[in-house]
């Protein structure tokens, strides 16, 4: 992203006899600032991450593995996978539809629509869960209807899925809208002129153009969907072995002072985060041009 621009600014070659460049700080200042930044990041970000793995393995590998033989842990993993398997494709389809409508057409009220799609990012996770409780609780807006028909939404899978969809709602659209806007409509128009149908033009022209951005956003969406805690915690009801996702299971184990098991289960999510960061970084280095520039998370 900033590679070429930053390279221009590369500090002057650090030979002792070179006169100091006028457009960078002195060597001592550079080194001090770099050291402060690295120590700060190590202390604040890397140390907690390392702690997860150290604690998880503190009673040996056997104990670590044994944590995952627990039926409650297994059911938490299963529930998390199910929730992500529903929420991520939903947001993928929504994101593609929304970005097609918003990026390829000009219409009134567009920026309002984009703001509304972004809304879930600025809502506290706990409030995200709360709003579904208000809608679906027995005295809620639609709650009575679902209760009458015996459909359980809250404290069950549907509620967890809905809350997860809400917190990950903007991920795909947010990445694809600026990307598709940058690419314009000329290529699709050419395809249509040459006789392609709309769907065919989308599949063979648009989709290949946005594939890396799509992968990038699905990756981030999935990481958040599997790791969401606050919103899911509010709607799940914490029924052990039934409505506990991995993060909620971590919380229960931790509050029972079962620290090794808590960190062992947490290490699954930490591993997922590391893999996500790795693939994300690779995509940013190799396909920077095919991702939306400066996308906010």
């Amino acid at each position: 992203m900033s590679e070429t621009a930053a390279a221009t600014f590369a500090a002057a070659p650090a030979k002792p006899d070179t006169p100091r460049s006028a457009v960078t700080e002195g060597r001592a200042v550079r080194w001090t600032l770099t050291a402060i930044a690295i120590v700060f990041l190590a202390l604040f970000l890397v140390l907690p991450l390392a702690t997860v793995f150290v604690q998880a393995l503190s009673k040996g590998f056997e104990t670590y593995i044994a944590t995952f033989r627990e039926p409650d842990a297994l059911s938490a993993v299963r529930l998390t996978l199910i929730v992500a398997a529903i929420a991520v494709p939903f947001n993928l389809v929504f994101g593609i539809a929304a970005s097609w409508a918003i990026a390829k057409f000009e219409f009134a009220g567009k920026s309002l629509l984009v703001t509304l799609i972004d809304l879930p990012f600025s809502v506290s996770p706990v409030v995200s869960g709360l709003i579904y409780v208000l809608v679906f609780s027995a005295q809620g807006v639609f709650g009575a209807f679902f209760v009458q028909h015996g459909i359980q939404i809250l404290f069950a899978l549907p509620g967890i899925v809905l809350a997860t969809i809400f917190v990950t709602f903007p991920f795909v659209a947010r990445e694809l809208i600026p990307l598709m806007q940058e690419q314009g409509t000329a290529e699709e128009e050419a395809a249509l002129t040459l006789g392609a149908s709309g769907l065919w033009a989308f599949l063979t022209v648009t989709l290949p153009n946005i594939r890396w951005g799509l992968l990038y956003s699905v990756l981030l969406c999935n990481a958040r969907a599997m790791g969401e805690f606050g919103a899911v915690s509010v709607v799940s009801g914490h029924i052990r072995g039934l409505t506990n996702t991995i993060p909620l299971h971590v919380e229960i184990l931790y509050n029972e002072y079962n620290f090794v098991a808590a960190f062992a289960v947490a290490s699954l999510l930490a591993g997922l985060a590391l893999v996500t960061l790795l693939i994300k970084s690779i995509l940013e280095w190799r396909y920077a041009g095919e991702l939306a520039a400066g996308g906010r998370h």
């Binding site: 500090a11 604040f44 539809a97 929304a98 057409f105 706990v126 579904y132 947490a266 998370h297």
Partner: protein
């Protein structure tokens, strides 16, 4: 009354909802977008609005003036303000070092900045609690000099800096990369010291981005739940945050109370968003970019 008899030479272009385009699929994708948006976001958020409007302003005020709620709100907003300030200062430093200096492992350090985005909040929460607990790696050292980090408001502060940092770094970083080198050269040629160049030439155009990053980190800190509750200790009146109080009210089936606190928090994050937009509008006028 005078009636204009002048012929209208040019008819005003008819207002259209959508500009014409040869591309197909607007209707179905737009409709689907609106449908999803309504079901997932608008109707549930509407439920909150309905619920709190039933309370009325006086009802919300009554909940907010409850001493426990008031102190939770004060802690959430106060600590988040301090944490966002800290995150902005260090975030700027990290962004500067990452874009301006070359050093081995720079790309890894750059990737590490996104860790709080990727790491689930509950995992971050128990890890931070472990590190800063009295028997933790950092916590034990702090204990020696008489500072209690975990289970105090300082713990909340640490967790909020943790989650706010990437916002502070990532909003400033692209702008530092875009600074025109020639401006700095000109400043140096005209005899300015490096310090004067930094203060008077480099920093001023970056202020809007720093403010935006600050506002984003602040908003995130106020709403944050998962990474805070493990390290906070959650003592009422001392280290209890507003989102936790919502959860407590919900578990007591006090939906009205929960909705009132949520409305206050939403109102303030709405104001923060508005502030961000104003900063960006001002920046666009003043500097020509966001």
């Amino acid at each position: 009354m005078t009636v204009s008899t002048k012929p209208r030479w040019r008819a005003k272009p008819r207002w259209r909802f959508r500009q014409p385009s040869v591309l197909p699929g607007f209707g179905i994708t737009f409709g689907y977008t609106i449908l999803c948006l309504s079901l997932v976001v608008l109707i549930p958020l509407g439920a909150l609005v309905v619920r709190s409007s039933r309370l009325g302003l006086s009802g919300i005020w009554e909940v907010a003036s409850d001493p426990r709620v008031a102190s939770a709100l004060k802690i959430s907003f106060g600590v988040s303000l301090l944490a966002a300030l800290t995150a902005s200062v260090f975030g700027f430093l990290v962004a500067w070092v990452l874009t301006r200096y070359r050093f081995p492992g720079r790309r890894i350090v750059d990737a590490v900045v996104d860790l709080p985005f990727a790491l689930p909040t509950a995992v971050a929460g128990i890890a931070l609690a472990q590190v800063y607990a009295p028997n933790g790696i950092v916590g034990a050292q702090l204990e020696k000099i008489g500072i209690k980090a975990a289970y105090t408001p300082l713990g909340i502060f640490i967790a909020m800096v943790f989650i706010g940092l990437p916002f502070a770094v990532r909003t400033v970083q692209p702008l530092i990369a875009e600074i025109d080198k020639e401006v700095e050269e000109a400043s140096a040629t005209l005899g300015a010291s490096r310090r004067a160049t930094l203060w008077k030439v480099v920093l001023p155009p970056l202020i809007p981005a720093v403010l935006t990053g600050f506002a984003l980190a602040f908003a995130r800190g106020v709403g944050e739940y998962g990474s805070i509750i493990f390290i906070a200790g959650n003592l009422p009146y001392v280290s209890e945050i507003a989102p936790l109080l919502i959860v407590i009210k919900l578990s007591e089936y006090d939906y009205a109370g929960a909705a009132a606190i949520a409305t206050i928090m939403l109102g303030i994050s709405f104001l923060t968003l508005l502030a961000i937009n104003l900063i960006q509008a001002w920046s666009r006028r003043r500097f020509g970019y966001v």
